[in-house]
Amino acid sequence: MTSAHVGLAPSQSPPTRLLDRLNPLTRVAIGLVMLVPLVITIDWLSAAIVLLGELLGVLLLGVKLPQLLRRLLPIFLVAPIGALSMALYGKPGGRVHLDWGVIVVSDQSLALAGAVLVRVFALALPAIALMGSLDPTDLADALAQILKLPARFVLGTLAGVRMVGLFVDDWRALGQARRARGLGDQGRLRRWASMAFGLLVQALRRGTSLATSMEARGFGGNQRTWARSSRLTGADAIAMLVTLLLAAGAVMAAIVFDTLWITG
């Protein structure tokens, strides 16, 4: 609390990665823009271009590959599911390999399945890589100051979300309490279910008294000042530009190479 702090907003840590220089809003926007080619087309080429571009991009921004792969692990487990469904029920076309009534495996359904597989990764990557380390407070600042979303909702939600950071501690305390009260010998599943319910109840209680505390500190209107100002910078502009180019490129490539397959 020395004079060094005076007049300065505390920053978490000096930005070492390029990623930390981006406004949280940009991080969200990148993910959203990348959705566009993935939603309007279901072909393998555009999905593959998006995926490669994303991968390159996040590595450039300073995300570590092993870390990324670890967080993508669940996707490796579930991605084949969507592909399987598409292979079996995709609209048939081309050579038919298997025909069991509703299930028709054809060239076209197989191609679609391949596209779906790549697509799942392309969809999941930005959310995981760009948002994983995001500070909710910073995002809230950006949403309210740049997007001008109502401060009441943004900050109310932020405060509610913070409760969840306490879930791990709460879970432990809840377990200790149940053990101390003689309720700790139940089967694992039953205990788990009743503790999960207890956790929800506790979070709701906390949320309720938290709302009171917020109002006691003058919270309630949409008009307020901001101790930390959230701004868009040149880095954000460049990142957005690259993203837009990539998205457009993916669609163009699909058109040029005629793999485009607009849904419907």
Binding site: V6, R181, G182, A216, R217, G218, R224, W226, A227
Partner: protein
Amino acid sequence: MITAESWGWRHAGRKAWAVRNLDLTIDPGERVLLLGASGSGKSTRLPALAGVLGSADEGESTGTMLVKGKHPTRQKGLVALVQQDPEAAVVLHRVGDDVAFGLENLQVPPDQIWPRVSESLEAVGLDVALNRPTSALSGGQKQRLALAGAIAMHAEVLLLDEPTANLDPEGIDEVRGAVGRLVADRRTTLIVVEHRVQVWADLVDRVVVLARDGGLLADGPPLEVFHRHRDALLEAGVWVPGAPLPVDGDGFVPRDHPTAPDSADFADPVARNHHERLLTTADLTIGRHAQHPVQRHLDLTIPAATSTVVTGPNGVGKSTLALTLAGLLEPLSGEVIAAPAIRPPAARRSLMRRVSPPHPITWRSRDLLTRIGTVFQQPEHQFVAATVADEIAVGLRALGTPTAEVTARTDELLEVLHLTRLARANPFTLSGGEKRRLSVGTVLATQPAVILLDEPTFGQDRNTWAELVRLVRASVDEGRAVVSVTHDQAYLSVLAQHRIALTGGPDRHDDEATTPGRAGAPR
């Protein structure tokens, strides 16, 4: 500044009014100490003044209460409130942001915010980095944070609900000093609720005592009130300064450290004497995380038929020690050993883990009930039932006690704890002091051989305090070991038979160079 005319409030779902017939005027710059028995409606009144008591959905009000001529809900920001539970007061993730929160809401220009944040943190003596996560603060530190958030607002009225309840003596001085400096210029109106009158008696210029059935019991300058209404106040449970403690100290002299060896033949707790060591620790290191041991190399004994007290500054690891002794937290190294007399049968095995009779952490949950009972520092952490009566009955039912006996025992405890009229209320809607008493009751119900109490008397008025002390003494007389973690000097003066004083600062965790915390018996 503040005027109340026959004001009253009844919480939704309650028959009784929490506050009734309140007539009161407080002038700008006045410093008021608000007293009253536990459950007399003090904590209801403060949010009402701050305009955050809630809408018609949440209760019913009568009469009027105005702040500067307007309804409190139209005067937000004029009144700053620090609630009874500091846990609930933390809004944001980082310390600095949290203090700044109120200033932003008041539309203070950004360039003035950070200086004011630093200033208030300094005023309450909370010396941590601005970006420190608020969840990593100890109970006492959170209380300071809440106060800093309120001070920073430079509100015209400052309302404090038991601001020193969880603080060590040093912390109490600091908080009192900070508040004193803030109100020194007489521009801030102060209303503070606190059972321990002594702390604030010199600072305030008016004492208002709420009567149990609504209205006021006394109102006036401190000396006059305490002198003139002494008997009525004592009767109502107010801690009148200078009055003797409500229990006598006879028969509870400090005892020698027990030296006799463990004796295995006292199956009946009543037969135990204070030479039997129910729990011992051997080279015990404790902490919530392996990387952060808070106390090392503890060799402690918990004697039967004795009241043991654990003292030490905020954050030193008292609660951690209690949880470890209770078989709820795994020791980081070393062990907690239970005396043969209280070990559960070795044959019983639960599916998940092996029971090792000497080590409480391995016991089944039901075995703990009659052997080691724990009252948590935060009473809410402990509640598992929907009504007060059920809360007490839970442990008895888990033991398979016959229904008639459960009812009888529950009723008896509710009576002693002054909770009978709240038997069907939800535990979470109780007042701070009521919650504390209920959580103590839940443990006493199953009559464990060792009882661990973490701050058993916080938030208690003089009468309920005396009841609690009597209950603890009765348990000790029955041969149980009672271990109390406490900052309460009065409690220490009548119950410190055996004392464990933990030392060492909270922030020396993984710092090998400094001396680790030590336990000793100063008497």
